[in-house]
């Protein structure tokens, strides 16, 4: 197995499986890992053969988040370097934008396959995904308070939108860790699979998404993201534009024909 911090497997079924690969450090998010993750996301977004992106972790963790060992060695590591306020916060914001932000905006379904612990900044990556599937061994939490930090990688944007503000504020202030069932109860993950067959079950789910109308999926994401910060009037206009684009897609045309002849549509992502 490669010792690169990010592995990418572009499968025949249209799923690109991205694996965070520092198992000896619980896949902690080093600057190198994040840079390679950003590169893999950019490539997956651009490759028309990729119709769904799945992200998981090698070994027993999804990811432990920021690398506390690095922070102990150099206090600047928490922002990936930088001395002045502007430089340090700029470095961290860019690292987050190129990963959390890229997942959130990626115009294809992105699925988190949460095989184990996902805490801190890694929770932000998980939350940015469209769907979260958990192994029965998954554990999720904010954990930032445990190291005296306020949170990054979009966690304060994304968590309240998923679980409501009351639960989100408590999860930040208390640092409580949720198991897979607890995460499902509050809507943080949508399904829990047995740990033994987790990767197979989760990849089968992703393959289903990869057979969908990929361009329309991308526009659904754009509409949902746009709707977060705009008025109903603006959101309606945005939906209308995207609907107009999709009317020109092969997938829409073929599906309309299949519907009229009472057949199952076959989508090619075009």
């Amino acid at each position: 197995m490669s010792d690169a911090p990010i592995l990418v497997d572009t499968r025949d079924d249209g799923v690109a499986l991205i694996t965070l690969n520092r198992p000896d450090r619980l896949n902690a998010m080093s600057a190198d890992l994040l840079a390679q993750l950003a590169g893999a996301l950019t490539a997956a977004a651009a490759d028309p053969a990729v119709r769904c992106v799945a992200i998981t972790g090698a070994g027993r963790a999804f990811s432990a988040g920021g690398d506390v060992k690095d922070m102990a060695a150099d206090r600047r590591a928490v922002t990936f370097g930088g001395e002045s306020d502007e430089e340090a916060s700029g470095l961290l914001a860019r690292a987050a934008q190129s990963t959390t932000g890229a997942i959130y905006d990626l115009p294809k379904p992105v699925v988190a396959l949460i095989n184990g612990v996902a805490v801190g900044g890694a929770l932000g990556l998980v939350l940015a995904c469209d769907v979260r599937l958990a192994s029965s061994r998954a554990r999720l939490g904010t954990a930032f308070r445990n190291v005296g930090l306020s949170g990054d990688f979009g966690t304060t944007y994304l968590l309240p939108r998923l679980v409501g503000w009351g639960r989100a504020r408590e999860l930040f202030l208390s640092g409580d860790l949720l198991d897979a069932e607890g995460a499902r109860d509050i809507g943080l993950v949508t399904a829990v699979y047995d740990a033994d067959s987790f990767l197979d079950d989760a990849l089968a789910y992703c393959a289903g998404l990869a057979q969908g109308p990929t361009l329309a999926f991308g526009r659904m994401k754009a509409n949902l993201n746009f709707g977060e910060g705009h008025s109903l009037r603006q959101a309606l206009a945005h939906e209308a534009l995207n609907q107009r684009f999709s009317a020109l897609d092969h997938d829409h045309h073929d599906a309309a024909v299949a519907f009229a002849s009472k057949q199952e549509p076959v989508f090619r992502g075009r």
Binding site: R76, S89, G101, N146, S150, Y157
Partner: protein, 273 residues
């Protein structure tokens, strides 16, 4: 100062604020409202206070605006320097009143916990919603009762409730004015935890005590990030807010101490600095 609000600064860093008009179910008249504003303004800025807990004396948390004096209070608040009533003066006074109660509970840079011991009605419901965490006695009852007195609601209810329970439920709760008991409150995410009535204050204060032992500055910055997010900033804007706040925490003693403790395998001990 009047005695309609009691302030108990405890050794564990928690300050317990008790609404104290039990004979009127702690309904908010001018005295109580003024005392609550003064108390919250002082506690928000005091670094020795590391968590604020809000509760009510007797069988209610807070029954909301005192209906008996409502019309008269609104008239008095609107009287300008010329001795005449002006609607815009009344509205501005109302806005200040809301910002220094609901607003401060939501934004002060330390955890705020509602210990909902009984009825939380109207503005009382809103005070509970403004807090970061809601802990309920099994006797807690919530009601967005504004419709019963022909009002649309104030003290941030329309801001907070959809964010806590979702738009669909929030509209129903506002329109129906139904009473929500503790179990249902927990089921819809309104109550974070429900405790037996007998142990309620002790359990609630123990929870608040744990929050008071956290990295207070980082917790305040979490709230700032979450509030930016709630106020409609984009993901990109929130990522920058998170980054700036993380940069600030990098220099905190609590962060450095916790990193050292983590490496040793110890539990971190936070001083709030």
């Amino acid at each position: 100062m009047n005695d309609t609000v009691l302030v108990d600064r405890r050794d564990d860093g928690v300050t317990l604020v008790t609404l104290n008009r039990p004979e009127s179910l702690n309904a908010m008249n001018t005295d109580l409202s003024d005392a609550l504003r003064a108390a919250l303004t002082e506690l928000a800025d005091d670094p020795a206070v590391r968590c604020v807990a809000l509760t009510g004396q007797g069988r209610a948390f807070c029954a909301g605006g005192d209906v008996k004096s409502m019309r008269e209070r609104s008239r008095l608040e609107g009287i300008g320097p010329d001795g005449e009533y002006h609607t815009d003066v009344a509205i501005r006074a109302m806005q200040d009143r809301q910002l220094e109660t609901s607003g401060l509970l939501h934004t002060m840079p330390k955890p705020t916990v509602a210990l909902v011991n009984g009825y939380a009605i109207g503005a009382g419901f809103c005070f509970a919603l403004a807090c970061d965490v809601r802990l309920c006695s099994e006797k807690a009852k919530f009601g967005m009762a504004f419709r019963n007195v022909g009002l649309p609601g104030d003290f941030g209810g329309a801001y907070f409730l959809p964010r806590v329970v979702g738009q669909g439920l929030a509209r129903e709760i506002f329109f129906g004015g139904e009473v929500i008991d503790a179990e249902r409150a927990r089921a819809i995410g309104l109550a974070n935890h429900v405790y037996p009535a007998d142990d309620f204050l002790a359990e609630g204060l123990a929870y608040a005590g744990r929050l008071a032992q956290g990295p207070t500055k980082a917790l305040g910055r979490m709230k700032a990030n979450l509030n930016r997010s709630g106020e409609g900033s984009s993901l990109e804007e929130v990522l920058m807010s998170e980054a700036i706040n993380t940069r600030m925490s990098r220099d905190d003693r609590d962060h450095a101490g916790a990193v050292e403790a983590f490496i040793r395998g110890d539990k971190p001990v936070f001083s709030g600095r």
